[in-house]
């Protein structure tokens, strides 16, 4: 059977989340390179999944899916986007059978024949009855996934659910573990397995009638939800890195070509035919906290040798040829050398940046300095007086650090390099012009702008 690909769902959801209602059906479908019919079908399927996962009331299910994604923004630490990973297709008879097997093994150990009997009794009439071979292959799958384990001892082989680490915990311990998993899934990367585990622990608590799981006690502010979608490729990539294998994929650059006036060319989601077939040796994955985006870093045999890809543009990802350990080590060392001074992933020439930060006036707490120390990566504060302090950092190119510096507004003055200083002056002039009051133009009819 062909491997089920979720590229379409991933791109679809990413576009839904990022553009939140901007496009009508036709525009949306055009930008993804699919038909309106496919669009409708996908929406129906996603709603079906979301409805089941969230166990919403019927009226909730009628909400537009964009609204469902919106409301999950702040109040809930339960990311709706997780449903992407719940979308693998599965026959009804199979899901019924597998869940019967898992349920039967919760608190006891049974042999495959005992399970066959249980299953035959438990299956609804309209579904096909399983045979022994099917049950054996189900058990093999569940064992591989780690959901059940073999019980040591003689034949016939017995199986049981692999939940000891939960069942051995007292109620208080389980509550603590749940809180820990909640915090880690929401604040660390990678997060998807954590969210999945959180769902399971929540159910375990429900079974024990513990109130903790019932509501969200924790809120997390300023989450980048779409990072969850990027994690879809993470494990394929990490496995390839572990195995020293190359990867091939079709890449869609998020930047548009120069003709951005063309209406049909959405910079984010170019049509499939425009994807570029790429092969690289993967070396690292990078998570960028500034935008909540993942990158794949590697080595390509092309001109520059260095390859950086945004995870969101990667589709049809597959492993390919092996490389020698020597080559891997050499390329990894080169990459580490090149990214040592990357604010994000820029591998340009290192530049020494020197800026002066100004302390807040009359404030009690120096939140400017706090923030510089929190976010300034490897930069150092070199000089300090009562009104300001100097911050110095060497970075690859100035492009990536620039938005961060600009976000400080007038609390930051760029001193070096001169080129960056000039860019800041130019941008602040243009920004000032964005907010020139209209009133001024009215007062000065002679300047030709009125």
């Amino acid at each position: 059977m062909a491997k089920e690909s979720f590229d379409k769902e991933i791109q679809f959801l990413r576009m839904l989340v990022l553009t939140s209602g901007a496009y009508n059906r036709q525009q949306f479908a055009d930008r993804l390179g699919i038909s309106v019919h496919t669009f409708d079908k996908t929406i129906r399927r996603l709603k079906d999944i979301a409805g089941t996962v969230q166990q919403q009331a019927a009226e909730e299910q009628n909400k537009a899916i964009t609204d469902m994604l919106r409301t999950s923004y702040y109040e809930s630490a339960d990311p709706l986007l997780l449903f992407l990973f719940r979308s693998k297709s599965l026959k009804e008879s199979e899901s019924y059978r597998l869940s019967l097997l898992i349920a039967a093994l919760q608190e006891q150990s049974l042999t495959s024949l005992e399970l066959l009997e249980l299953c035959s009794e438990g299956m609804p009439e309209e579904l096909a009855l399983p045979d022994e071979k099917t049950i054996r292959s189900d058990l093999k799958y569940l064992e591989q996934a780690g959901v059940i384990r073999r019980v040591p001892g003689g034949r016939p082989q017995k199986y049981t659910a692999h939940n000891d680490f939960v069942s051995m915990l007292s109620d208080d311990e389980l509550s603590d573990l749940y809180a820990f998993v909640d915090v880690m899934a929401n604040t660390q990367v990678p997060s998807v397995q954590g969210y999945l585990l959180r769902d399971s622990l929540k159910k375990a608590m429900k079974r024990r009638h513990l109130p903790d799981g019932a509501s969200d006690l924790f809120l997390y502010k300023y989450h980048y939800h779409s990072r969850i979608l990027d994690e879809a490729h993470l494990y394929t990539i990490m496995q390839a890195i572990e195995a020293r294998r190359r990867l091939t994929f079709h890449y869609f650059t998020p930047k548009s070509n120069r003709s951005y006036q063309s209406k049909n060319t959405n910079p984010m989601f170019a049509k499939q035919s425009e994807g570029r077939l790429t092969e690289i040796l993967p070396l690292k994955v990078a998570y960028d906290h500034q935008y909540g985006r993942w990158y794949l870093l590697g080595h390509s045999s092309g001109r520059s040798g260095v390859a950086i890809f945004r995870m969101e543009g990667i589709t049809q990802l597959e492993e390919s040829g092996l490389v020698s350990e020597d080559e891997y080590v050499t390329q990894l060392a080169a990459l580490e050398r090149n990214t040592r001074y990357s604010w994000l992933v820029d591998m340009g020439r290192p530049v020494a940046v020197k800026v002066r930060f100004f302390n807040p006036e009359g404030g009690n707490r120096n939140f400017i300095k706090d923030r510089v120390q929190l976010q300034g990566q490897w930069g150092v504060i070199t000089e300090e007086d009562e009104i300001s302090f100097l911050f110095e950092i060497t970075v690859n190119g100035t492009q990536e650090i620039k938005p961060w510096l600009r976000s400080f507004g007038s609390s930051c003055e760029v001193l070096e390099p001169g080129s960056l200083r000039r860019e800041f002056i130019k941008e602040w002039k243009e920004l000032a012009a964005y907010y020139e009051p209209v009133r001024e133009n009215l007062q000065l009819p002679d300047d030709g702008t009125a």
Partner: protein
Amino acid sequence: MNLFEKIFNYRMMAQLDEHGALAVTAQERRWLLMMLEHPDASSAIEPETLDRLRQCLCGSDEPSSGHFRTIIIEKAGSTVSSLYHPLMGTLRRMIVKKSGMQLLYTRKDGTLLPRQAGVPYKLEYSMVKKEWYLLWYNRRTRSLMTTRLRSIRLVEDMPVSEEFFNQAAAALASQLEKRTQHATIEIIPAYNRELSRILYALSCFDKQVQYDEPADTYAIKLTFLGDETEYVLSKLRFLGLRVRVTDHSYMKYRLREAAQKSLARYGYAPSAIETAQHNNGIMPAEAE
């Protein structure tokens, strides 16, 4: 390891739920084991429990071949002093139990306030400041308070009726609702090719996007709480020339001021500053 496992399928999930059955995969356990290595695990979980968990998880699965953690590099993150605060467990249990509390904490300027009575509501983590906050109901002022966990000196149980607790929680929910603000951000069409970057940067906010096809223009309506305005402003300065606020007078005023004050730092001032002063008198009245 594959995140698209049959076992994660949504129908599977619903059926397992019906049976009250628990299904945890090896990859979830490996993730947990990896997270238990975090230095803060010992603040979150009792040492004895932590040991048992580690033992159980280590022994139960094939050891992960990978050092997955070393493959991931994190960029532009913040240094985190501590992810867990010692009071989190206490406060969490109080919220779950629907208990009231007595709180002793210091204000931002460091002064210690007299004991306050109230009801804990939620614990909130700011991914930006890397800081935990307690959202709570102040019984005296009947209002929503946000207090850094770091500033809390002492918290003690104080029984309240469940009815009171629920009323307080409802009052807070509605106060939060009232603090909601909107601002419309227009993407300057010349930067449409950077749409993806801009939307990613703003994806941490509750937002709705409108697209005007004939004009090829995107307008983003952000919804946020009043006290988040500073953070929204810093994001807008972060994006620079790519975006412009169209409808929020106070934010427009602040961005204009930031530009003018910055120019003054670089020695480009007089006329700009004059305009700023000229408008200083007008803007507050217009500000929302």
